[in-house]
């Protein structure tokens, strides 16, 4: 399958700062791809190169088989640095932004009205942006990125400032886009959302890809020795456990490679612990993120 987005060995420096240092990844049609990384890792610079806003010093970016600036009308973008015209009406802004993407005015207006209805803002179509709540503005910003019905959406922190209800709504919207065959590049710090939505990810740290591939496989790799135990009595001292956390009787235990989960179970039973649940688990993406970023492990791109 031909990738929708192909990034090959791109580099970008600003003065002495090497912001992006040989980043490569591919995104395939109809998938939600997570582009992750700590602050200052080079994500935004990578995204800007993906959008044709910045030109890489070296390497290549292809979107829909062409240079980004040649397909900008087929791509939607929700930047991290974003806002709207506070004194303009919501519908007018969405129509204008779709027109800038080459859509005819009437088409743009109709589509904007439909999208506003979809996110429950039909009644606010003629309100000025400054009259909307922050959450409403966030939704309008997301709509601005997709109002021209793009084939590829690059969304940087789309969940910022959303309450749980709206967060769910936006997630549904993203899944609808995915179902409609759109390709989505999602950048966020909310790892639980990445786990819920993304099939593949790339983790960038210090300008380099440090983790790349299918999320499930990555989690499997990292979760080989993680066990969740729910116990009604406290756990005894367990020298075989490398690290553990406890919350409301639920223990999260990380074992070194030489200790198996079966050995742990035996030890707990022998120690007379009242076990209510025992599960060999996946390492949360957040933990993988922290571990990788802190340099505890590195996974070669697959």
């Amino acid at each position: 399958m031909q990738p929708t987005v192909r990034v090959r060995e791109i580099r970008k420096s600003f003065g002495t700062l090497q912001a992006v240092d040989g980043v490569s990844f591919e995104v395939y049609p109809g998938e939600i791809f997570g582009l992750l990384g700590p602050n200052g890792a080079g994500k935004t610079t990578t995204i800007r190169m993906l959008m044709g806003i910045l030109h890489p010093d070296a390497g290549q970016v292809e979107v829909l088989g062409q240079a980004p600036i040649q397909v900008r009308e087929r791509v939607g973008y929700l930047p991290e640095e974003r806002g709207l015209y506070p004194n303009l009406k919501v519908l007018d802004i969405l129509t204008y932004l779709a027109q800038l993407k080459g859509r005819p005015k009437a088409w743009a207006r109709e589509r904007a009205e439909a999208l506003l209805a979809r996110v429950g803002l039909a009644e606010r179509a003629h309100a000025k942006v400054k009259e909307l709540s922050r959450g409403m503005q966030q939704k309008v910003q997301l709509l601005a990125a997709i109002v021209h019905d793009p084939e590829v959406c690059v969304l940087d922190e789309p969940f910022q400032g959303l309450d749980p209800v709206n967060l769910q709504l936006v997630k549904e919207l993203l899944l609808e886009l995915k179902a409609a065959g759109k390709t989505i590049v999602l950048s966020t710090h909310q790892m639980n959302q990445v786990e819920a939505l993304c099939s593949r990810i790339a983790l960038i740290n210090r300008g380099r890809v440090v983790l790349y591939g299918e999320l499930a496989r990555i989690q499997q790799t990292y979760a080989a020795n993680v066990v969740y135990v729910h116990a009604s009595s406290p756990l005894p001292e367990l020298p075989m456990v490398r690290r553990y956390r406890e919350h409301n009787g639920m223990y999260y235990l990380e074992l070194p490679p030489e200790v198996s989960s079966q050995q742990l179970l035996r030890t707990l039973v022998q120690a007379g612990v009242e076990i209510q649940a025992f599960q060999v688990g996946r390492l949360p993406l957040e933990d993988i993120f922290v571990r990788v970023v802190q340099g505890e492990g590195q996974h070669a791109p697959s």
Binding site: R48, M51, G52, I53, L54, I69, R72, E73, V75, Y77, P79, E81, R82, G83, L84, Y85, P86, N87, L88, Y96, L97, Q99, L100, K101, G102, A144, A145
Partner: protein
């Protein structure tokens, strides 16, 4: 460059700007002020006009003369309309009191020795002073004193030594008395209009430029259009808004002045093709400044800073005003010619020169060519600065960064 996108941006900028309360208020200021002045003139001015009328009417009446020195009797025919002889003071004072005379002068017997003349006037001090300064009165005294020694026809000429002062230059021969006045006034007006337009529009350019930056829309826009499309759309849209305002001001002024402004143009001795050149210089100058200010303005981080940076550019348009003395006295001075070629000062400088003097064709051709070429060049530089400026949030690019951006074309 997609012209449809440029048009969309220009239209958006234009409609947003002309709907701004600030724009509407400012645009309405001139007509409203004009109307207020017109009403004031109509209401309060009536009384004032009547007073002026009385004063002027009084000054048109003759002056009574009581001659005790013997030099002024009889009054020479050349002065008969303005000076009437009276035998004694009582009679002449009565004539003044009854309004038949503007004033009365009594020339005492020792006038030749003292030069003293007595005046009787019911009017104010101002009139006495103006009488003392009156060339007609001085001529009356001088001509009559010299009567015994000077032939009659010379006396007549002495009474009015200069009737007309006719210029020798052939192109001015047909010009009326308003010619010289309009010749200087008109280019000043056109040039001032240019500078005002540049300043007024820069305000809208700046507001329009700062808007996307302050509202963090930059990345959204440039993911849809090229910086050049955005730049051109903005300059055209915001420039058009500025011109709309100027147009409204001019039309209102025309209407309120009852066509006086048109009359001024009509009596002006400036040939029609020069008006064409004025308009051309105006349009090109406006375009150049708009393009430059937009580029420079994008470098600012806030509306205030943007305003300061863009303001720098418009100050240059003022330079020819500062040098207008030189322009009108030495129109071919090297500095004046140099500034006529320099695109930023060319419009104002050439408007001044074309109005008053015959400018060498080479100056017109060179300055127009340079001006025309400078606009795309300024546009290119402007778009580069714009591209650089829009991506810098909350921080101003350094000179090195600006230089780098211009070089990496």
């Amino acid at each position: 460059m997609h012209l449809r996108k440029v048009y969309t941006i220009a239209r958006h900028e234009y409609t947003v700007t002309v709907r701004r309360p600030g724009f509407i208020v400012l645009t309405a200021t001139v007509p409203v002020l004009g109307l207020v002045v017109a009403v004031l003139v109509l209401v309060a001015g009536r009384g004032l006009l009547a007073q002026v009328d009385t004063l002027v009417g009084a000054m048109e009446k003759p002056i009574g003369v009581v001659d005790k020195s013997g030099y002024f009797s009889p009054v020479l025919p050349a002065f008969a309309d303005d000076f009437q002889r009276y035998e004694d003071e009582t009679e002449v004072y009565r004539a003044v009191d009854e309004g038949r005379l503007q004033a009365a002068i009594v020339i005492p017997p020792d006038y030749v020795q003292t030069g003293r003349v007595y005046v009787y006037s019911p009017q104010n001090v101002f009139q006495r002073v103006s009488l003392e300064d009156s060339h007609r009165l001085r001529a009356f005294l001088a001509v009559h004193l010299s009567r015994p020694w000077v032939p009659e026809e010379v006396l007549v000429r002495l009474s009015e030594p200069l009737v007309t002062l006719t210029p020798v230059a052939s192109r001015q021969e047909t010009a009326g008395p308003w010619a010289s006045f309009t010749q200087v006034l008109v280019p000043y007006m056109v040039a001032i209009l240019l500078v005002i337009s540049v300043f007024a529009s820069s305000g809208y350019l700046i507001q329009g430029l700062a808007e996307e930056k302050e509202n963090r829309l930059v990345e959204i826009i440039i993911s849809s259009v090229t910086p050049m499309e955005w730049f051109v759309g903005k300059v055209v849209g915001l420039g058009a808004a500025g011109l709309t305002q100027m147009g409204i001001w001019m039309l209102t002024s025309l209407a309120l002045s009852g066509g006086a402004m048109l009359a001024l143009v009509a009596v002006s001795p400036i040939p029609w093709y020069r008006w064409g050149l004025f308009l051309l210089y105006y349009a090109l100058g406006y375009a150049l400044y708009a393009v430059l200010q937009a580029g420079l303005g994008a470098l600012g981080t806030s509306t205030r800073e943007t305003q300061q940076i863009a303001g720098l550019a418009s100050v240059v348009a003022f330079v020819p005003f500062m040098l207008s003395g030189l322009v009108f006295t030495v129109p071919d001075a090297p500095l004046v010619r140099g500034l006529s070629y320099f695109p930023l000062t060319a419009p104002t400088m050439m408007i001044f020169r074309l109005a008053v003097f015959s400018v060498p064709t080479v100056d017109v051709v060179v300055s127009l060519t340079l001006l025309v070429v400078s606009i795309p060049v300024a546009g290119w530089i402007g778009a580069k600065l714009f591209r650089l400026g829009i991506l810098f949030y909350g921080k101003r690019p350094s000179l090195a960064e600006i230089w780098y951006a211009l070089r990496s074309a």
